[in-house]
Symmetry: C2
């Protein structure tokens, strides 16, 4: 399935600023993006990166579309450009496994919505010509409404892996608990590890990075 | 499937203390428990409440076992008492729908583990005689390890609804976004509503409760 992966690499993951320097956030975001692209590919999808400005990277195998408009406008332009079924998968879903995305692609419904924790929309499948995205605010509820307004059948896709967009410090624990890709390795090599205190799992950084041994 | 639902009603949901009074927490926890019991029943399960002290409630249709030992010991006693397949579903999974639990019950594996956000174990299916629980710490990883050590096949069950144990203020937004049972109605009647600010979904309490109109 044609799968749009929006990605902004200039100043990504700003909510991780308390724990990562700007250059680290760029590296980490790129690792998550590549995990997502690999998972889309392994799930049988055809990924297309949509970015606000040209990338300085070696994602040679993946078509890149540069669109400097806001996220919703850029994604809707990609939906306009392809009359067939199209998925939209965010680039910070580093826990998405191929089987998770394969199940998403196969889920029935004119519009399939995977909510993010906090009411966002982390992944979508669109099979209806009149459905368009609007990522502003609590977009999950808005997308359910928009799908129904368009006369589309709608299905919620229930997945912790897809609900976990990694954009806050607490999310790093989820990656260390459940991940095994580039982004998880990047975190470990940067010195991050799980902690357990008072029955709660957290994350600590035991070193400031450097070459892993 | 025989389904153990551990519940402690005396001082529940202590992490919700910043937003709910003690009596409110008891009411809210009971509403979540009843949502879970209903969902287990509708999914074809046979629920058994396991509580540390006798309940003052009208759950007449549900067998209640009083066991004042710690959670892990009490659950393991319930596993000891039933050689057949047994599920364990936490009483604060107010987003669990019948279809979610039916899929959990039907999932293959000697041990099926549904992780909670933060590394806990929110729901389990146990079909292996040597597997026992230990809810201390990051129990999800411990349970995977314990299952493998017991020679049991193990499967992770990926569900945002089951990953969301409602025990912190942020979790209330998930309930208002995705729930439609007693606990969600209780929250709305207590004056809680979603807010959207700066692209983030939150919760505010607009009244101190009272009779809904």
């Amino acid at each position: 399935m044609h799968t749009v992966v929006p990605f902004s690499g200039t100043d990504p993951c700003t909510r991780l600023s308390p724990v990562l320097e700007p250059a680290e956030r760029r590296e980490f975001a790129a690792a998550m993006r590549d995990d997502v692209l690999d998972a889309v590919d392994a799930a049988g999808g055809d990924p297309e990166l949509v970015v606000p400005e040209p990338l300085d990277c070696d994602q040679a195998d993946v078509p890149v579309t540069v669109d400097d408009r806001d996220l919703s406008t850029a994604v809707n332009a990609a939906l306009d450009a392809d009359a067939g079924p199209t998925a939209v998968v965010m680039a910070d879903l580093a826990l998405a496994e191929p089987r998770t995305l394969a199940a998403l692609f196969e889920a029935d419904g004119d519009v399939v919505v995977a909510p993010g924790r906090g009411g966002g929309t982390n992944a979508l499948v669109v099979r209806h010509p009149d459905f368009r995205v609007d990522y502003h605010g609590a977009s999950f509820l808005d997308h359910l409404r928009a799908a129904r307004d368009a006369g589309a059948s709608v299905r919620e896709f229930d997945s912790h892996r897809l609900a976990t967009d990694v954009d806050e410090p607490d999310d790093l624990a989820e990656l260390l608990l459940h991940g095994d890709g580039r982004a998880t390795r990047w975190l470990r090599q940067a010195g991050f590890d799980l902690t357990v205190a008072d029955g709660r799992v957290g994350v600590e950084r035991t070193t400031s990075g450097g070459d892993p041994t």
